[in-house]
Amino acid sequence: MSRTSTVEDLPPSYLNKENTLFSWLCSTDHKRIALLYFGSITAFFFLGSAGAALMRLNLISPAGALVSHEGYNRLFTLHGVVMVWFFLVPAVPVTLGNFILPLMLGARDLAFPRLNLLSWYLFITGGLITLWALFWGGLNTGWTFYTPLSTNYTNGHVVLAVVGIFISGFSSITTGVNFIVTIHRLRAPGLTWYRLPVFAWSLYATSVIYVLGTPVLAMTLILLAFERIFHVGVFDSRIGGDPLLFQHLFWFYSHPAVYIMILPGFGVVSEVITAFSRKALFGYKFVVWASMSIAVISFLVWGHHMFVAGQSIYSAIVFSLLSYLVAVPSAIKVFNWLGTLHKGHIQFEAPMLYALGFVGLFTIGGLTGLFIAALGTDVHLTQTYFIVAHFHYIMVGGMVSAFFAGLHYWWPKITGRMYSDAWGRVAAAIIFFGFNLTFFPQFVLGYYGMPRRYASYPPEYQVWNVLSSAGAVILAIGYLTPLFYLSYSLLRGTRATENPWEATGLEWKTSSPPQTENFRHIPTVVDGPYNYPPPHSPAAPRHG
């Protein structure tokens, strides 16, 4: 990419201030760091997707069409580890959040710009170490590292992989601290808490989980490494340990982590739906407090991953009840998005299509969550493809759709250029269709009892597996399409105006792309978010 030749003719901005490698790698500008993150996150996303593609290819045939059992086990471990820790957990906060949050608050940067840069280095160091473990020697434990398989039986590079995840965990913690302090201290004059856009609130809720949850993961991983190297006996039942203890500790982080992944998505979608309905968010305070209550309750439901693991019946009952409770705020959000559409002035640019896709897919993911929060049915469905389908509807159908919605929505602000909206809408449609074809058959497979993490399977499951693999091909095309039209936009896209969507929010009140330090004068806020005036003339195009 010949960056210099394309940005020279743009007005002065953070993109063309200086363009040496050093100026990028040592920048403390939140916008440049966000772009460093964009690059690394995209690489991890396509790496993890490649793992998934090979798995779907293998599962076309009941005996396994492509790789050995061991090869398959390594593939799904790679897919899970890369996607969870190096894509889903950081994705929206460190890219869109990093870029947009200070702009949204009317701030010149995050509260701790150097800490922000450090967090990227921690992330990339941890990521490279884990990749090294995954490729040099391999890892075959699944992303969940259940003991005693991971501590006493596997010959994979568990410790090295765990060290990488441990290091990148600190990038989550530093990002969380940075966001919390920034939201508390750097809001523009007049920007009270209830005037904050929902995206800022959702990043706040996410940051709380980052800061409270990630240390527990760090401790768990230290225990895991110690157990593996020194056989201290925390998890080994032969010397008085308890393998279930690992699962409790692991899910104490990893369940809230699910909300780390989806909460920023809620925020993005709330922004996009209001902007393209040209109407205030329905039930703003309910949406805000739904996010905050999810952040709290999410710490109390980890046991629902262990309904058949051997915990007591009583704890299972309590965890089931709490799991239903945590689903209520999510349901509230869906109803509020519908309420926002009601009597709006809805337009269908690409970001809105991705956001509407999110609402649909997230609703399916959420409703199927009720099947596995119910104890009796969870016994049948857990550990099958039903689980795989359920969390992919939330994580991929939900979170990745939201990421794309946000990416398309803020793309003009980030790059200063427009993309082809028609191609954007085509990609959104392909992704929606490909996604459903890939993952809906997996609900059926799960009900029919096909276990997850199987390299080969009984032939009666083949029909639905082939359908799912066919969907994966379409989904792959859907995910590759934006790579082309967005790259084209970077090089040849028409210039974006300051506010191409005529949206509210301080991020639209500065140039696209913004200058270094964001604003010439720090704006003063006088009203709440989403204060959309009624449109002047019907059917008037808002931008060229």
């Binding site: 059992h69 398959y72 086990n73 075959n140 434990t141 259940y146 005693p148 398989l149 039986y153 596997t154 039942s237 032969r238 008085g240 393998p243 309905s277 039930g283 309910f286 058949v308 693991a309 051997g310 299972a316 009952i317 089931s320 009840l321 239903y324 409770l325 209520v328 349901a331 109803f335 519908l338 009597k343 709006g344 002035h345 809805i346 337009q347 269908f348 649909g360 609703t363 409703l367 009720l370 929060a373 119910a374 104890l375 009796g376 049915t377 969870d378 016994v379 049948h380 857990t382 550990q383 009892g449 276990p451 993490r453 390299a455 399977y457 009666e460 029909v463 449109p535 019907p538 059917a539």
Partner: protein, 331 residues
């Protein structure tokens, strides 16, 4: 030939191969179908409203937008409460099912299941043992007492809608009453290493006479209880623990140089410990007391039994347990 292919395809698509085959499976399916019905209803509502709104209120339509600023809290409270009520109902339904799924009836036949990388072994009370297969009679409650020799596995029978993890160093249990004769898939559903996807087999549900016949032809030993009794002497347990002689316990205790708790009638009953607590002598307690006796000392006795961890195999434990359980009737 073509007809066979067609039948197989139809069965694969519709899941005919997965008819509920146990008493609890029908109840699980009832809740599942209720959930599916509710899901379709809510999805219809959400997608329906979404489609209706985006068409009716798309930019430029003449549809009235008046009154869109009405107070929202009435709506918020009503859909929150409605959601809560429905969720609570689902929770109660699911919890009731679950509690019954994990409470085996008293008349259940107990089969010992041991998992190890990458095979299942099942041992019947009569001593019949099988690998990667489980033969059971129809309409008879069966309880599986499960443990693992290495990593965590999971014993899953989709046609019965049940599964449970199988842990090293612990007993977990699962029970069912099969109601449809036939052969069903048995899977390991907890990732357990390289050949995880090969760790499975068949569950064969037979009519009672056929099952009796199978038991007779598969008999290779005198039964778990009898074998347990032999092991009880061989491991030296009988040197200190009185067993199988009700009324002799006190006399035996006073004659032996070592005083140890008598085992007659212990199984399933409360045992006071010397730290003041009382435990029920279940499978896990007996197991721990053999392998790591120092953990829980019976009130009034000294800690002098050597630990048998690493000495007694899982298979021998199953037999000792069967024997000690058989003494329960003697109290």
């Amino acid at each position: 030939m073509i007809q066979d292919l067609l039948t197989n395809a139809i069965s694969a698509i519709t899941g005919l191969h997965l008819r509920p085959a146990s008493s609890s499976a029908r109840e699980t399916d009832a809740l599942l179908f209720a959930l599916i019905g509710g899901t379709i209803l809510v999805l219809g509502l959400v997608f329906g409203l979404m489609l209706y709104y985006v068409v009716r209120y798309r930019h430029g339509t003449k549809a009235s937008r008046d009154g869109s600023d009405a107070k929202s809290w009435r709506f918020e409270i009503s859909w929150t409460v409605a959601t809560l009520v429905v969720f609570f109902g689902l929770f109660v339904w699911g919890a009731d099912l679950y509690v019954r799924l994990f409470q085996p009836p008293a008349n259940a036949i107990r089969i010992a299941v041991t998992g190890k990388q990458w095979m299942w072994k099942a041992e019947h009370p009569g001593g019949q043992s099988e690998i990667n297969a489980l033969h059971v009679p129809i309409n008879q409650p069966i309880e599986l007492l499960m443990t693992s020799e290495d990593v965590i596995h999971d014993f899953s029978i989709p046609a019965f809608r049940i599964k449970h993890d199988v842990l090293p160093g612990r007993y977990t249990s699962l029970w069912f009453t099969a109601v449809e004769p036939g052969t069903y898939n048995l899977f390991c559903t907890q990732f357990c290493g390289t050949d995880h996807s090969q760790m499975g087999g068949k569950v064969v549900v037979m009519e009672a006479p056929a099952f009796q016949n199978w038991l007779e032809t598969s008999r290779t030993s005198v039964g778990l209880v009898a074998e347990g009794q032999v092991l009880f002497t061989r491991y030296g347990c009988s040197g200190c623990h009185a067993a199988g002689q009700p009324g002799m316990a006190a006399a035996r205790g006073s004659l032996s140089s070592v005083r140890a708790p008598p085992l007659d009638g212990v199984y399933g009953h409360p045992v006071p410990l010397n730290d003041g607590t009382v435990v029920i002598a279940d499978d896990q307690y007996i197991r721990d007391s053999i392998l790591m006796p120092a953990r829980q000392i019976v009130a009034g006795y000294a800690n002098q039994m050597p630990p048998f961890a690493g000495v007694v195999s899982e298979g021998d434990l199953v037999r000792l347990l069967a024997y000690i359980k058989s003494l329960g009737a003697n109290r």
